[in-house]
Symmetry: C2
Subunit: 399 residues, 2 copies
């Protein structure tokens, strides 16, 4: 079959081990039904198959060039069958076009077997978690399994600590680049958290910081924050984490009316500076379309005067007081000391971070931080899984 050589088998750059074979295919005039060698059945709509025809892509970029605008509403097929190579062959009606679908690709897109791409967050409090999971930097870069475990841990728990990192800005950047592109802000590509003269934010003082997310003042809070410890010999300055999702769950359960306020009434965030004036107005707890807790935004020192319906002022302050009381409650806090050479990574849209005040006269405390979007984390995990699929395919071919 000459045509098989011309098509790019799956239309993307991924790998699809063939673990089941198509043993039968049929159509009801709207969908194609496939019977697999393990007895499983899959169904695919004509329009979905036509859209995903693996040859209707740009040959270099493999991006789709299928144009739905020119498609008839009543798309029909002439025939469906299985090729000698085990591909699903669909000959389209009304246009001189045939599509060949790779069995591994088809199976992995079966609508009855769709899996969530990532594990759900495992929320925690001080009862079921004592410290962020720890990983060794050298193991991460030398052992793909450790790297995978580290990244999944970050998705599930929203935090992790990497140990044995070079205690320098360069050490931080190495970790960041391992995940992806750094998101620069007005504080720089990276920023130094230490007691400074003329600080432009509370982080750059010795005072304790209440649990907060970073840059709630922006339309989009940074997804991940890295805080790498270059020096920490001061008295005080312990690190504190709070799982904002866990606190929100508690409020939802015990104070549903407060939860409604926190998820529906906007709150005014803003920075104070002579150079910039970033503000964002949005509820402190954000739900997705299905009512699932999606994002937390808190920063007591990153607020500007609340400007909402006058009658909501008192209820909202009451709601804020409850939220802040829980955020400060030891029941929810992990407290630990970040040591030199340890890099803390947190999901900044879920995990609040805080620190105890410290006394600069007793030593030095210097963290170096940066932000990364969560897309980079998720892309990294997908690429690890892709390489694992590639290995499985290669080892199957070598057997």
């Amino acid at each position: 079959m000459q045509i098989m050589k011309e098509v790019i088998e799956t239309g993307d750059f991924d790998f699809y081990p063939v673990e089941h074979h198509i043993i039968d295919s049929s159509t009801d005039g709207k969908k194609v039904e496939i019977k697999w060698s393990d007895g499983h059945l899959s169904k695919f709509h004509f329009i979905w198959l036509r859209d995903n025809c693996p040859c209707c892509i740009h040959p270099d970029t493999r991006e789709p060039i299928f144009n739905i605008v020119s498609m008839p509403d009543d798309l029909l097929i002439y025939s469906v069958s299985t090729t000698q190579e085990g591909f699903l062959e669909v000959i389209w009606s009304g246009e001189p076009h045939t599509s060949y679908f790779h069995p591994g690709w088809l199976r992995s897109h079966c609508f009855d077997l769709l899996k969530k791409p990532f594990p759900e967050p495992l929320t925690w409090d001080s009862k079921n978690k004592k410290e962020p999971d720890r990983f060794d930097w050298n193991e991460i870069i030398s052992d793909p399994k450790t790297e995978r475990k580290w990244l999944y841990s970050l998705v599930e728990t929203g935090c992790s600590i990497i140990q044995n990192v070079e205690p320098s800005k360069n050490g931080l950047i190495q970790i960041a680049k391992r995940i992806g592109v750094i998101r620069e802000t007005n504080f720089g590509l990276t920023f130094d958290v230490e007691a400074k003269t003329g600080p432009d934010t509370a982080a750059y003082t010795e005072i304790g910081l209440p649990p907060h997310t970073d840059l709630p003042t922006r339309e989009y809070q940074p997804g991940l924050q890295l805080l790498h410890c270059l020096k920490n010999s001061v008295k005080g300055g312990e690190s504190i984490l709070v799982d904002g999702f866990r606190v929100a769950e508690e409020i939802r359960l015990k104070e549903p009316e407060t939860f409604d306020l926190l998820t529906s009434v906007p709150w005014d965030f803003g920075n104070r500076s002579t150079l910039t004036d970033y503000r964002w107005k949005t509820p402190m707890i954000k739900l997705d379309n299905n009512g699932k807790i999606e994002e937390i935004r808190v920063g007591n020192f990153l607020r500007v005067p609340l400007q909402i319906d006058f009658d909501l002022i008192e209820p909202m302050y009451k709601a804020y007081k409850l939220l802040e009381t829980l955020n400060h409650d030891d029941r929810f806090k992990l407290r630990f000391r970040l040591e030199q050479g340890e890099c803390l990574i947190i999901d900044n849209r879920r995990i609040l971070h805080a620190r105890d005040s410290f006394d600069s006269s007793t030593g030095e405390r210097h963290l170096c931080g940066c932000y990364i979007e969560r897309d980079e984390l998720w892309s990294s995990i997908r690429m690890i899984e892709r390489r694992n699929r590639q290995k499985r395919m290669n080892s199957a071919l070598n057997q």
Copy 2:
């Protein structure tokens, strides 16, 4: 009054010209009521005033240090009055604390006078708009009024062209830095849009690009896109813009069921690459909590196989077909030629951009682009307004 010298008058770094004076103040036991010299009345809740006490801030950063957790639920005041300097004086009950509120600051925060910070989007189609508004780069950097007009135009129309920009990457970066921090992506801090060998996205070929937003594959699409024309001598390659909000409005009006699908059923976006695997799943049209159109996400070539409820496949393709048909309809398109030295800026969460195919053998076409978050635009506008308030204050003082 010695204490007045010790407090920072307004607790922030902003300027509040005093255009009205407090002539009376009173309380009903829960709120303070103020009568102004122009007869206007303002009311403020105790808790709101206490939270915004201008001395409860860090002296350097001016960030709030007020802690609501330690506040009693039944906050009371001992007295309210006006000082000789015209400040509102509130003596708190139950703690040895007095707050002094600047009259200009108070008036500008009156709940009955709250204004939207920015104008609403003025949506457009090819009937009421022919080209993006054009501004001259030298005027922008030399005349604050032109700069202000340019930035507001960008907020309202979602697009603008700056002319007479140095046709180089440096020219692009100058404009970007004028607004704020560049958002780097896997395509770089800046990226070159030209026909390349071994392109990793459709933009880097000669083919026409359908109307799309950039990076719909990310959790957060970049807010602003800058596309600066370094060279354009080819045949073809005209630029096209579509106001995605306008198209969405039309669908809402004429096809409400389709609108419901497009705003509620997620759609699968993804890139195709050997190096990264960015994906995001979300409805193509995003509404805010009040049902207002907030964001558009479209990119025919930036999709991965749709994985939603099986029964929604056909309705969603039908909805997508309608959306794409309108996105390609001349009724909605601005078509213009970007000339050397012109920089196009668009709101990438609202405006779709496209280009006609071109023929590299007829000349050169080279755009240089980058992304910026919209926060930077809004902060720039606020800073311009702040400087204008400062000027008004200074000129009042000099009279």
